[in-house]
């Protein structure tokens, strides 16, 4: 419980830093820290597979590409935004809140004090089992989607040559 509070508090602090930092590199690094802390949260919930994949995919690959692009463009400090931008941002945040609140109040049974799901839950074997039996169609659709994205990226890159 104490561990959860520390991890949750830290991840909230870092996610606030993502938003409020003026320096883009600092924002990106704070996002990496947030993702890492959430991965540790998964580890404390006995979901080692999900936690490790979170680090491997998000913190280790996607964020590295973000940083790569940021370093290539080197935008420096962000300028202050205009009033219209602030209004638009607030509206979007309120709309997101309306989506999130019902969802979060629904998930009361996932309280942190509860005993973690035991057995082989979250193990690579059970994950693969459900991916390739019950959820094989969504899984394949997702991979086709990724394939389309890859082909699209290649086509876009080729056009400039």
């Amino acid at each position: 419980m104490i561990l959860f509070l520390i991890l949750a508090g830290l991840s909230i602090v870092f996610s606030l830093l993502v938003v409020f930092q003026r320096n883009v590199i600092y924002s990106a690094m704070a996002l990496v820290a947030t993702l890492f802390l959430i991965a540790v949260l998964f580890l404390t919930l006995e979901a080692a597979m999900v936690g490790i994949l979170q680090i491997l995919v998000y913190a280790g690959a996607i964020m590295v590409l973000f940083l790569f692009v940021i370093m290539l463009l080197n935008p420096g400090l962000l300028e202050g935004r205009s009033i219209a931008w602030w209004i638009f941002g607030s509206l979007a945040a309120v709309l997101l809140l309306f989506v999130l609140v019902p969802f979060l109040s629904d998930s009361g049974r996932l309280l942190p004090g509860q005993a973690p799901a035991g057995g082989s839950f979250g193990s690579p074997e059970s994950l693969a089992q459900s991916l390739f039996t019950d959820f094989v169609l969504p899984f394949e659709i997702a991979s086709v989607l990724l394939l389309v994205a890859i082909i699209g990226a290649v086509v876009l890159a080729k056009r400039e040559v």
Binding site: I25, M29, M49, I52, I55, A61, V64, F68, P124
Partner: protein, 368 residues
């Protein structure tokens, strides 16, 4: 309870100190080995009574003192916080990645089973890959925070190179995982104690020779050493991402690189060369085919296993140092072409061929 915690702490401390010390020793070996290869004496000030071999003791103490007493320079227009954070980010993943590599079989002492492995995760090898993927940050952040064009070039090169080779590295291991059917490194090491046709140890190198070559190449590229040291490339971009680093922070980058070498050697040993397995050594002693058995007490077996593991790791550390001083550096486009057009398709092909062979093997009427 307290004994259990003590055992875990002792194992963690032992592995950590082994990796760190080996990193220091490798720093000395690298200088001496390069001298040996280039027909020089090398590092000749650090010897005791004229024995260069004893200079190792000297160097291990002298090196850190020298590094730590030097000025810690931070570029005035650089970023203080990130410049300090980067070496920690470079060293941390390299040190913790070794935790899941087993260095011996399960030891039973006074009704207590000790798994000779710091952390037994059911995702084992994925944990190492995730830590390897985090090690990019040390380079990228260090390069950016230095506010130096050469550093930035090194950082950009490093991040592109490491992302490219991570994919090939992950795919090359897939064949091994399919054959042994687990992600746990302890299980993989144990499965390699089986014998094929009654005499050949079922080591990864015999079952997956192509995967070994691919993995070894990708691992060298991940440790950013010649022929893949484009992020440093002294003759092109001075020292790349750590050009603005001095003193203790440079030592951390330096130690991180050698810790990565040790981890890579440990992983290669575990996946392809039987880990802690000694050929024909079972839990109760040697079982030689055609010759006979030689029974040994459990402690001797454990010592033999840990000793063998250490020797294998040392051999692969030495091989990586030998590579560095024997090969020229690739050009950048060659590195990218090798990674994406050679290693990646070969790794995919290896996965497919392995899958076909496994299915054929399982449906074959006669199994050895």
């Amino acid at each position: 309870m307290i004994v259990d915690i003590g055992i875990i702490a002792a194992k963690a401390l032992m592995v950590l100190s082994m990796v760190l010390n080996l990193a220091g020793v490798l720093g000395w070996i690298e200088r001496k080995a390069s001298a040996l290869i280039q027909n020089r004496i090398g590092a000749n000030r650090a010897s005791i009574f004229g024995f260069a071999g004893l200079g190792l003791v000297n160097t291990l103490i002298a090196d850190p003192i020298k590094f730590l007493t030097k000025e810690d320079f931070i570029p005035p227009k650089g970023d203080r916080l990130l410049h300090t954070l980067a070496p920690c980010l470079a060293l941390f993943p390299a040190l913790v990645a070794f935790a899941v590599i087993p260095f011996g079989d399960i030891l039973v002492v006074a009704d207590r089973t000790i798994n000779l492995q710091v952390a037994n995760l059911n995702v084992g090898i994925l944990y190492i890959f995730s830590m390897a993927s985090l090690s990019v940050y040390g380079i990228v952040i260090g390069a950016w925070a230095s506010n130096n064009k050469f550093s930035l070039l090194g950082g950009v090169r490093g991040s592109a190179q490491m992302i490219s080779y991570e994919i090939a590295m992950g795919l090359s291991v897939m064949g091994i995982l399919m054959i042994y059917g687990t992600l746990e490194l302890q299980e993989i090491a144990r499965a390699q104690g089986n014998l094929l046709w009654g005499w050949l140890p079922a080591w990864g190198i015999f079952l997956q020779p192509v995967a070994f070559l691919l993995f070894f190449t990708a691992a060298v590229a991940e440790t950013k050493r010649i022929p893949f040291d484009l992020p440093e490339a002294e003759s092109e971009i001075v020292a790349g991402y750590h050009v603005e680093y001095s003193g203790g922070k440079f030592l951390m980058f330096f130690a991180g690189e050698f810790a990565e070498i040790v981890t890579a050697a440990g992983l290669i040993t575990t996946l392809f060369f039987g880990g802690w397995q000694v050929p024909f050594l079972m839990r109760d002693g040697f079982h030689f085919p055609w010759v006979g058995t030689l029974f040994l007490p459990q402690l001797v077996v454990a010592l033999l296993q840990v000793g063998t593991f250490t020797l294998k790791v040392l051999f692969f550390c030495w091989l990586q140092i030998l590579l560095r001083w024997s090969l020229p550096r690739f050009r950048y486009d060659q590195v990218m072409r090798l990674g994406w057009k050679m290693l990646l398709p070969l790794a995919l092909l290896n996965v497919m061929v392995t899958a076909v062979l496994i299915v054929a093997w399982q449906s074959a009427p006669l199994k050895p």
